[in-house]
Symmetry: C2
Subunit: 329 residues, 2 copies
């Protein structure tokens, strides 16, 4: 269950705006209104995936809607990259609970103005993203529409218990995979009509769902996890809220993508699809090196879970911002 409120700028990440937090303002009203109507029929609504049991098998299911002019503009991305990105956004929800992807369906709204092979190229990108994580493309729906609509639906299974947002304990350390800010740096350049840095554009066009990384962390004691889709701070807030705790982030520790202007950009960059994980305090430092060796990707401790609520940002130990007042940090 994800909520984006991009208003009129793509990706929910207006260059000057603060990260949009789930649970705040109008978005929460919509969601509350929706789920209150469902009574007891809804399940696992707080997590990235619905986790359900069918015929004795536990499944993770998630859908992720990508809309032209809301999430991207035509011309920004080749159709193959668009397909890869849409599929990865949904697959990343499976990574967040340490599920194993099995299959993907794609519902497409396609404009008749598109070249004949456009949909084929898009599905080729979907197929590549699926193959990268061992999943199959199972089918979908195609409807004509003037603007492009892509809904990616993914289904995964579990080889062990899922890792949820709610499992963090006070004293756990928060760690993040990869380096943050590249996706947003590319988006800002695209919105500004500039040519993005090549490595930043790679983060925008070819993000990776951290499936194997999530299972590695689960097998070594991860207590709570979420994927960085809304931005490090916003997603830390979701994890903290679900766990009934506060998240404290040390901004000087945030691993920056080379194209990120500063830690504020890195902390608010959405659609990174890295993992934010809560690990027992004594365990986290011992995992950093083996993780980097296994995946050629950094795992960086960026903060700690404490009693309280919301997110606090520190700089070398001094509090510089708290929940709801991030726009100026």
């Amino acid at each position: 269950m994800t909520v984006n409120d991009p208003s009129n700028t793509p990706s929910g990440m207006s260059p000057s705006g603060a990260p949009t937090a789930l649970g705040s303002g109008a978005e929460f009203d919509i969601i509350r209104s929706i789920w209150s109507r469902l009574g007891a029929r809804g399940a696992n609504l707080g997590d990235d995936c619905a986790i359900v049991e069918v015929g004795g098998v536990r499944l993770a299911i998630s859908s992720d809607l990508t809309l032209e002019d809301t999430h991207f503009r035509r011309g920004w991305l080749a159709p193959g990259a668009l397909g890869w990105r849409a599929a990865t956004a949904a697959l990343s929800d499976l990574a967040a609970v340490a599920a194993t992807p099995k299959g993907i369906l794609i519902s497409l709204g396609l404009s008749p103005e598109l070249p004949a092979d456009w949909a084929g190229e898009l599905m080729s990108g979907v197929g590549e993203a699926a193959a990268e994580v061992g999943a199959m493309v199972w089918g979908g729906d195609v409807v004509r529409n003037d603007r492009i609509v892509i809904d990616a639906i993914v289904i995964g299974a579990f080889e062990a218990d899922p890792v949820l947002r709610a499992g963090a304990r006070a004293g756990d350390l928060l760690a993040v995979t990869g380096r943050l800010g590249g996706a947003r740096a590319a988006l800002e350049d695209l919105l500004g009509g500039r040519s993005p840095d090549v490595t930043a554009m790679e983060r925008f066009t070819r993000p990776r769902a951290r499936i194997a990384h999530a299972q590695w962390l689960r097998d070594r004691g991860a207590r709570a996890m979420i994927d960085v889709s809304d931005g490090l701070v916003a997603d830390a807030e979701h994890l903290a809220a679900a766990s009934g705790l506060a998240a404290v982030i040390d901004r000087e520790l945030i691993p920056l993508h080379p194209a990120a202007a500063d830690s504020a950009m890195a902390a608010s960059s959405g659609e990174e699809y890295e993992l934010l994980v809560a690990l027992p305090g004594d365990l986290a430092p011992t995992l950093v090196e083996p993780f980097a060796e296994s995946f050629a990707l950094p795992l960086t401790v960026v903060g700690v879970m404490e009693a309280g609520q919301g997110v606090t940002i520190r700089d070398h130990g001094h509090v510089v911002a708290e929940s709801g007042r991030f726009s100026h940090f």
Copy 2:
């Protein structure tokens, strides 16, 4: 897997147009281009559902995209009816293979102009349609968009082998549930700015997924099945193509909804969500009465499967139209 080509009129059913057949023209090119890119990774692409195995359990999965101005116009339907309809369109794909619905996810694109409770009302309609067939609402995605996007994703399980489109044999009789043409009569009135007949509007706003009916027919020997989403003739063509046979339909036998102008309207009325089923020739006549008694709904023999291909329409034994030339029958 469904394909709609409504061009600029809602529902793929322009009042004067012929039914749109899957496998003809531009739509087929799109689909062929899409699936050709997927190599061996796609599965069961010809049927209404993807039928897949996860963890030893066989699942039916389908997605159905409903788009404002393509499938409906704002103001035609209350949000609850829109939710019911979108959910039922997807649930009907599960009926087509005689699966048992387990859960539904809804991806929503919502316009900020909508009243605060609009999404809640819509999801209430989704929840009612799910509850009607014993399914749960599992979650979804919400994104702001200027026009309404609803993708309904359904997952079902099997208590027995699925009934596919491909199982018909020469000599099987074709039967249809319910009475056809009401959905199209309502649509034509809505497009023409007239007030639809109440019972026709009920067919448009509150269609039913024939879940129990499909399982009843499966348990009694149904060989092939499809739901009437594109129209009786178009869907008969899909079933015939999958089975490698021709379908012959006797138009005087088509059961008409009271609001249907004639058999041509009934035969091309899409989104009816009734079942078209191929039954062994000696069996079909014996099921008509027990079916009607069980469900208070008619089961009507409308034609026969023969060697050949495409669809032939007869009137009292005389051929009046053949595949590709339905627009004047």
